[in-house]
């Protein structure tokens, strides 16, 4: 504190300490004017909403606008109603902080009390420009709600959910999103959720187009570990949501966006016709954040009249993270919302404190700098609720006992954090799996029979390749709820991965018994049958999937693989083609058609299919081997070498990759490299008689006849009847000196 005086004092003496010297400075006698002091405050803090067409009810862009509202501005700022900013200063350092300084508030008061002078136009800052259209320019894709909805003129606030299906047939990464709510004045805030499986639309087949009421919603995340990663939160002063570099989010074909809007009746019927503008980037994410939640909804049981009901939760971090953002959430009874972290060394770090919670002014808060929390840190949520009559937000009059729920008369206590795992050791599994597991174990600590948490935990264990543990966890789920078809299916997948495929088949069967429409279970059984040479059964199972889901591209390619195994190449070809018509990126179909072309001696079309397959699935060494084969058959050796080098990188312990690479090196005239690769192949698989023979040939060609002889003899020790080795040895003998 280096200044002791109120700016409000026109003739005050400011005492300024400069380098230890006490210097007295006569304060400016110049009056407070709009142009010099007030416009900069308004432009920085107010006009993002208060401009013509903006979310605010009136504009504050011009001197006339501000003068007309002078008294209003004093009241709204002095009470800190405006700008809307709930977090307590000093308890988390947030980007885009909108809290006015006491000095600014005093300046506004003085400006109004001294007659609201305009001042010298030369002092006026440039007037900000607000676009009536998309602030980031034309979006790459605009999604609109199917049917505009009508908000009634009066009544309590309304929470409506609209589904916006993603219409493209390609995956895109989203670097920015902008929401145009249609009528910004009635939209308090909006959240966008990604529904990977369109589950919510399927759950509301008749009403999703018109908007479905509800404050919170649960969507089915599907079977792959793909946690929500971003806060897609909109409020009137943040029209465009730009993600940090390296952190775009993803939309796949078949995904839905769900727009969850908090709407406030305006006094006249309003049409709500929201649009979402999406801005793409070609670069996939280089960093993978995830959202994690603290809550204790089962403890939310607030007696009527109680004004200090506490709900706590605690989550221990299994990895180092950077906290990027935070989203505290309660309904109307929330009063005092606190979140902090206790570091392993005992130090307390505040994450946020909201002393006077107000659902109308809720927000996601992003930290100015990421908050680093080391592994072992305990994150705490401490919420206090007021269910008394004195809480004016109380929706129940008289107050009643309130529990957790989706309606506005129910309550919630959620704390969401966006975390980015950091300091991950190389070659370790996705650290988000550990965060997910810790989160679910925390849920289970509170609610041991929480089947959703158990299911998610099991899925995380499966993704961590911890199949034996996953089997146990899935078994726990089906013990609690034998009607959980997806858990039976997950159990099947885990059992299959432990090698117990017979038990896996039983689990898949059980899933189908419980829910015959769960095609995933039939599909998985079909896959397993295919892998265990029950080819006819696999064919039947894939056909059963297609009967229910004729557009399932993977089932078409699975069926094709079964047909291929039975030697029915033509039928396989047509099923692969059907798969590709539905999903031009289907890797199995691309690979299958590539293999078929190879087997028919058509390496050029084979290479075309396989190039696409590699593009789609760059980390699959087998596809790269196939592509290398296609190149090699076309004498494109350097291309083949490139693919095999990649395959070797991906699967360094696969002897066959080294052997193939050796063959192609040899064909391309790189004898020494060929020898090295073949030696490596034999190091990995020493009992390969063919390999020893091939190494002998390479050594002989290189003029190392002694070594070559040893190699041929090595081959014959393994396989005494090895024809080529015998012949080569004989040939070597005749040429021997």
């Amino acid at each position: 504190m280096n200044r002791i005086c109120s700016i409000g004092l026109a003739l005050g003496i400011c005492v300024v300490y400069i380098a230890g010297l006490r210097v007295c400075v006569r304060a400016s006698e110049a009056p407070v004017t709009f142009n010099r002091q007030i416009a900069p405050i308004l432009y920085k803090n107010c006009t993002t909403c208060h401009h013509p067409g903006g979310g605010g009810p009136f504009s504050l862009l011009t001197f006339e606008d501000a003068r007309r509202r002078g008294q209003q501005i004093v009241q709204a700022t002095a009470s800190r109603y405006m700008p809307p900013w709930l977090p307590e200063p000093g308890y988390g350092d947030f980007a885009d902080e909108r809290r006015l300084s006491s000095e600014d508030i005093a300046l506004i008061q003085k400006w109004v009390s001294t007659g609201m002078a305009r001042g010298d136009n030369a002092d006026a800052p440039p007037v900000p420009h607000y676009d009536e259209t998309w602030t980031l320019g034309k979006p790459d894709l605009v999604l609109s709600v199917e049917r505009p909805s009508t908000l009634p003129a009066s009544g309590s606030d309304i929470f409506l959910n609209f589904v916006l299906p993603y219409p493209l047939s390609q995956t895109h990464y989203i670097r920015a999103m902008e929401i145009r709510p249609g009528t910004p004045q009635v939209v308090h805030h909006a959240n966008v959720l990604i529904d990977r499986t369109a589950s919510w639309r399927r759950a509301h087949p008749d009403t999703w187009r018109d908007g479905v009421p509800g404050m919170e919603l649960v969507v089915d995340a599907g079977n792959t570990f793909d946690p929500d990663s971003h806060f897609l939160f909109w409020k009137p002063d943040t029209p465009a949501l730009i993600e940090p570099a390296g952190m775009p989010w993803r939309l796949d074909p078949g995904n839905d966006l769900i727009l969850n809007m908090h709407l406030k009746p305006s006094g006249k019927p309003e049409t709500v016709a929201a649009q979402i503008g999406l801005y793409f980037t070609a670069d996939p994410p280089s960093k993978q954040p995830m959202l994690v939640q603290l809550e204790h909804d089962s403890a939310l049981d607030i007696p009527s009249g109680k004004n200090d009901f506490v709900v706590n939760d605690e989550l221990k971090l299994p990895v180092d993270v950077d906290v990027l953002g935070i989203y505290p959430h309660a309904h109307y009874l929330g009063k005092d919302l606190q979140a902090y972290a206790i570091l392993p060394n005992g130090q307390k770090t505040w994450l946020i404190w909201i002393r006077n919670w107000d659902i109308d002014r809720q927000s996601v808060y992003r930290y100015r700098k990421p908050v680093f929390l080391p592994k072992g840190t305990a994150i705490h949520m401490h919420y206090i609720y007021d269910n008394s009559r004195e809480n004016v937000h109380n929706p129940n009059d008289p107050p009643i006992r309130v529990r957790a729920g989706n309606r506005s008369v129910d309550e919630m206590g959620h704390l969401w954090l966006q975390v980015l795992p950091v300091n991950t050791p190389p070659n370790s599994p996705d650290p988000r799996l550990l965060v997910e597991a810790a989160w679910m174990q925390n849920r289970l600590r509170k609610e041991p029979r929480d089947t959703l948490a158990l299911y998610n935990l099991a899925a995380a264990e499966t993704s961590e390749d911890n199949y034996a543990q996953a089997v146990q966890t899935y078994k726990h789920v089906v013990n609690i709820n034998p009607k959980d078809a997806r858990a039976w299916n997950g159990l099947g997948v885990a059992l299959e991965s432990t090698g117990d495929w017979q038990a896996a088949h039983q689990a898949f069967e059980k899933a189908s018994d419980v829910d015959p429409t769960l095609t995933d279970a039939i599909f998985n059984r079909a896959k397993s049958e295919l892998d265990h040479d029950q080819t006819s059964e696999a064919e039947q199972s894939f056909r059963a999937v297609l009967k229910q889901a004729p557009d399932d591209a993977s089932a078409h390619s699975g069926l094709a693989q079964a047909l291929l195994k039975k030697g029915n190449q033509d039928a396989a070809q047509s099923e692969f083609a059907a798969s590709l018509r539905i999903d031009p990126q289907n890797v199995d179909a691309l690979e299958g058609l590539g293999q078929l072309a190879l087997s028919r001696g058509q390496p050029a079309p084979a290479a075309e299919y396989l190039e696409k397959a590699v593009q789609r699935s760059p980390d699959d060494p087998v596809v790269r081997e196939q592509l290398a084969l296609a190149y090699a058959q076309s004498q494109r050796y350097s291309h083949a070498i490139q693919q095999l080098q990649q395959a070797r990188r991906l699967s360094p312990n696969d002897a066959q990759v080294h052997a193939m690479l050796s063959q192609v090196y040899s064909a391309d005239g790189h004898l020494q490299e060929a020898i090295v690769e073949q030696q490596e192949a034999l190091r990995l698989n020493a009992s390969d008689a063919d390999g020893w023979n091939n190494l002998g040939v390479l050594e002989a060609r290189a003029g190392n006849s002694v070594t070559a002889r040893d190699d041929f003899e090595h081959a014959l020790r393994i396989a005494p009847d090895h024809g080529p080795a015998k012949a080569n040895l004989a040939r070597l003998g005749s040429k021997a000196p």
């Binding site: 006339e64 007309r68 309590s156 305006s266």
Partner: protein, 205 residues
């Protein structure tokens, strides 16, 4: 039965203004010596000539969100009590709210057809209104108007950031009913909340 407010209350100011003010206990009565506003065609509206049992003024502004949110409620009250002869007036006190602005507002928020532009803010001063939305009940009496209620419509908005999901006490409605029943008029339980009425000197260019 007295129509005079039975209790003193903080928002009741009885300071003398530049026009004739008579203080009678806890209510103000002023002689209508001038037109108190004009209609949308510019014709004077003389409230003191009214023979209605009571006149309800609703101070409003097109750019005040809280005032706008009360449009449906005020229309409901007009429909409910109009049959009993109570007159309702939508009063636009702010400079710059011209007839054209008000017509546009009326088209958006279908309100009462009884509209007064308080061009000289004589109604603002007579009623001591400070914000929109604010409601006043006058009782015409011997060519003068006696104010028996002034303040908020109901208790939904307590303070900035303190809003009930719905009103618990419909204070204006209860007051009108009391006037009709010739009971003492209950007063609002808290100050009106909304947008400050813009002083006359402040006009846009």
């Amino acid at each position: 039965m007295s129509l005079i407010a039975g209790r003193s209350h903080a928002p009741w100011y009885f300071a003398a203004q530049s026009f004739a003010v008579l203080l009678v206990l806890h209510c103000s009565v002023f002689a209508a010596t001038a037109p108190h506003g004009v209609d949308l065609d510019g014709h004077p509206v003389m409230l003191d000539k009214s023979t209605a049992p009571a006149i309800v003024l609703f101070f409003t502004a097109p750019d005040c969100p809280i005032a706008n949110r009360y449009e449906p409620e005020m229309l409901r009250l007009e429909q409910e009590f109009g049959a009993s002869g109570i007159e309702f007036w939508w009063v636009y006190p702010n400079p710059d709210d011209t007839a054209a602005v008000i017509r546009r507002h009326q088209a958006q928020f279908p309100g009462s057809t009884h509209v007064i532009r308080d061009t000289e803010q004589s109604l603002v001063h007579a009623a001591h209104a400070t914000v929109t939305p604010e409601a006043v009940i006058f009782i015409p009496h011997d060519g003068a108007l006696r104010e028996v209620y002034r303040g908020r419509v109901d208790d939904r908005y307590i303070a900035f950031g303190q809003e009930r999901p719905k009103a618990m006490r419909h204070e204006l409605e209860n007051a009108i009913a009391a006037v009709l029943a010739k009971h003492s008029v209950p007063q609002p339980g808290g100050p009106p909340l909304g947008c400050s009425i813009v002083p006359l000197g402040i006009r846009s260019q």
